[in-house]
């Protein structure tokens, strides 16, 4: 790890959502069930890196992203932005934090205000934070539109979101996230709703902007091939916990956790000649309301032992920067 302070540090982050109950249920039973969306997650993100959280749906990666971006409050745990703890920021302080932490959402068809022109969608953040108005604001927005490839900028400035394609709208979302020149961006599945041949363009744009604006990314994805392409480090999540974390090379060449292995073996490869070793997983993902005792993965793990049912393994560093949560490593 670098000697500089990490830009984001997350310690034992938890988010439990109460399960919706009917009035009668609430009356009759005192017990409230919780969905343990994020259940004790800790990691650090270095300045300038692309840190990915990868996993299947329901693993808690999106919720983690929204917690780090402070869109929702954690149930437990602490979040640090540089030296500053931002876990319970509210009101004006939280608003000022937004200048430095931005988010790009998954759905380009829903993340832009349909009643505002593109120019206003992108420029509004500048006004909100009192950074630029009028002519100056327009100039900055036009520059940004050109930068993300929406040319001629003047045509796009006056257009409305419904006139643009999905790929174009997502570039607008990127422009909006970048216009405040933030330090840190949470990208929540930014390309999963874009056509395949256009995804690379958005990824390329994000990589270039990262260099230009000296950004750090938390990249959330279910597509491990994309994670391999764009990340420096990756964390694999399952049922609210991180099961393995390490550099891209470590995860893909030397996966240690059985879940990671299964996941990697299932990724489709556009090459008919490659022979794959298939890892079979039993059963299905358990409910996040009642996660299995011990190791959360033991119900499906082909290598489960007795101890896996009783004791939850800790996330330990087995080699430089490579952490695994599994009893097998002993």
């Amino acid at each position: 790890m670098g000697s500089a302070m990490p830009i984001i540090r997350v310690v034992n982050l938890k988010k439990y959502f109460p399960v919706q109950q009917s009035f009668l249920e609430r009356l009759l039973s005192r017990r409230i069930d919780y969905i343990r969306a994020v259940d004790g997650v800790s990691f650090e993100i270095e300045k300038g890196e692309v840190f990915s959280i990868a996993g299947e749906s329901g693993c808690g990666k999106t919720t983690t992203g929204r917690l780090v971006a402070r869109l929702i409050d954690p149930t437990e745990g602490r979040i640090y932005f540089g030296e500053r703890e931002i876990t319970s920021l509210k009101g004006e302080d939280l608003r000022r934090l937004r200048r430095h932490i931005q988010i790009i959402f998954q759905n380009p068809y829903a993340s832009l205000n349909p009643r505002m022109k593109i120019g206003d969608n992108v420029g509004h953040p500048l006004e909100i934070h009192g950074l630029a108005y009028g002519e100056e604001r327009r100039r900055l927005v036009m520059e940004m539109l050109e930068r993300v490839g929406l040319q001629p900028a003047s045509k796009f400035y006056n257009a409305y979101p419904h006139e643009l394609s999905g790929g174009q709208r997502q570039r607008v979302a990127v422009a909006r996230a970048m216009i405040l020149k933030p330090d840190f961006i949470v990208a929540d599945e930014p390309i999963s709703m874009i056509d395949v041949s256009l995804r690379a363009r958005i990824l390329e744009l994000m990589i270039q902007l990262k260099e230009e604006l000296n950004l750090t990314y938390l990249f959330i994805t279910h597509d491990l091939a994309v994670a391999k392409y764009i990340s420096d480090r990756i964390a694999i999540m399952y049922l609210g916990k991180i099961v393995e974390m390490g550099s891209k090379e470590a995860i893909f060449s030397d996966p240690k956790h059985p879940y990671t292995e299964a996941l990697l073996s299932a990724i489709p490869i556009p090459n008919p000649r490659v022979k794959r070793k298939r890892v079979e997983l039993k059963g299905e993902v358990p409910s996040p309301i009642n996660p299995p005792p011990g190791c959360i993965f033991h119900t499906r793990c082909p290598l489960a032992m007795d101890i896996c049912q009783r004791e939850e393994p800790e996330l330990v560093e087995i080699e430089d920067g490579h952490l695994v949560s599994c009893h097998l490593i002993k």
Partner: protein, 317 residues
């Protein structure tokens, strides 16, 4: 005869308020018994419409406006609705993308299977139930779940039910329209594997419609690539992935992350998806093609046979 499906000049148009959307434009296609075709295209390529058209299930305001669909010697385009209903489910069936909406939420899964079987075959309810149970077992669903409702299953399990329904009557052809797009990668792998096993077991033909070119190698024999409503390349899977001929196919493969490579440089296709109401003149890919010539912009290229049953719709060959 081993030729299962022959399509000549199929055109499907949607008559919308904004104009006529030429979703499928004069497509020719051939498929043999027991073959699996990976029909690949992005949104707006016409691939889903093509699949629906074979079953004559194109929703209004869409209509088949031209061409012939010949299935095992029978011309489907000339059949009336009643005759088509005998074919659907029985000889050609469909697996849909979203198992949540294609299953009746108020019907127990087992009953749904039984009804389907009894609708097409002259069997008693007991016989149908036996077959249904066997089918569920084939797709990996435990017999105790016969009486469960769709909402009691996970997404992956629901898709297995969808597959059971599609295969219940042992059809000759299954059209799977994005069957795994809404599923996670591990479940996707399992479902594709299941489909592969079953199609081999029952010797069925399959058209796998997908936008994800990466899933094609594991399961398909041949790949059919669509762009802007037209079929632009048809090849066996090995030849295609070794060397894609059409510039679009080539560009598509170069834009897909491949975990085999460590230092991939992804390329993207410039320009925007084509307008199907006013498609580009000449070759529809020409506005975005790095090899486009004047001729490409003027004339529409024919489907050229480059040998060993490989077809490309491009002037470069």
């Amino acid at each position: 005869m081993s030729q299962l499906l022959k399509i000549e000049g199929l055109s499907v148009h949607y008559y919308t308020e904004d104009g006529i959307v030429r979703a499928v434009d004069k497509v020719d296609f051939l498929m043999n018994r027991g073959e699996t075709i990976g029909l690949v295209g992005e949104s707006g390529s016409g691939k889903s419409t093509f699949g629906l058209a074979i079953l004559r299930l194109v929703p209004p305001p869409g209509r088949i406006v031209g061409g012939k669909i010949i299935f095992d010697g029978t011309e489907l385009t000339s059949l009336d609705e009643r005759e088509m209903q005998k074919i659907r489910g029985r000889r050609i069936s469909m697996v849909f993308q979203d198992p949540t909406t294609s299953l009746d939420p108020l019907m127990k899964v087992g009953d749904h299977l039984v009804e389907t079987i009894m609708a097409h075959e002259n069997v008693t309810r007991e016989e149908a139930k036996e077959r249904a149970l066997k089918m569920l077992e084939q797709v990996g669903i435990r017999p105790e779940r016969f009486g469960d409702y769709p909402h009691q299953f996970s997404g992956g399990m629901r898709q297995r039910v969808g597959i059971a329904l599609a295969l219940a009557l042992n059809p000759d052809l299954v059209i799977a329209d994005e069957p795994t797009s809404s599923l996670d990668v591990i479940v996707q792998f399992q479902i594709l594997d299941l489909m592969k096993r079953l199609k081999e077991l029952y010797d069925m033909g399959m058209i796998l419609v997908t936008h994800d070119i990466s899933i094609v190698p594991g399961i398909a024999d041949r790949i059919a690539l669509m762009y802007a409503g037209q079929l632009i390349e048809l090849a066996d899977v090995n030849s295609f992935f070794d060397e894609p001929l059409h510039p679009y196919g080539k560009a598509l493969l170069e834009s897909v992350p491949n975990i085999q490579f460590s230092d991939q440089k992804l390329k993207y296709i410039l320009g925007n998806p084509p307008d199907l109401i006013n498609p580009p003149r000449g070759c529809r890919f020409s506005p975005r093609c790095p090899y486009a010539t004047e001729r490409c912009r003027r004339e529409e290229p024919p489907m050229i046979n480059v040998g060993s049953d490989r077809l490309v719709k491009c002037f470069r060959y």
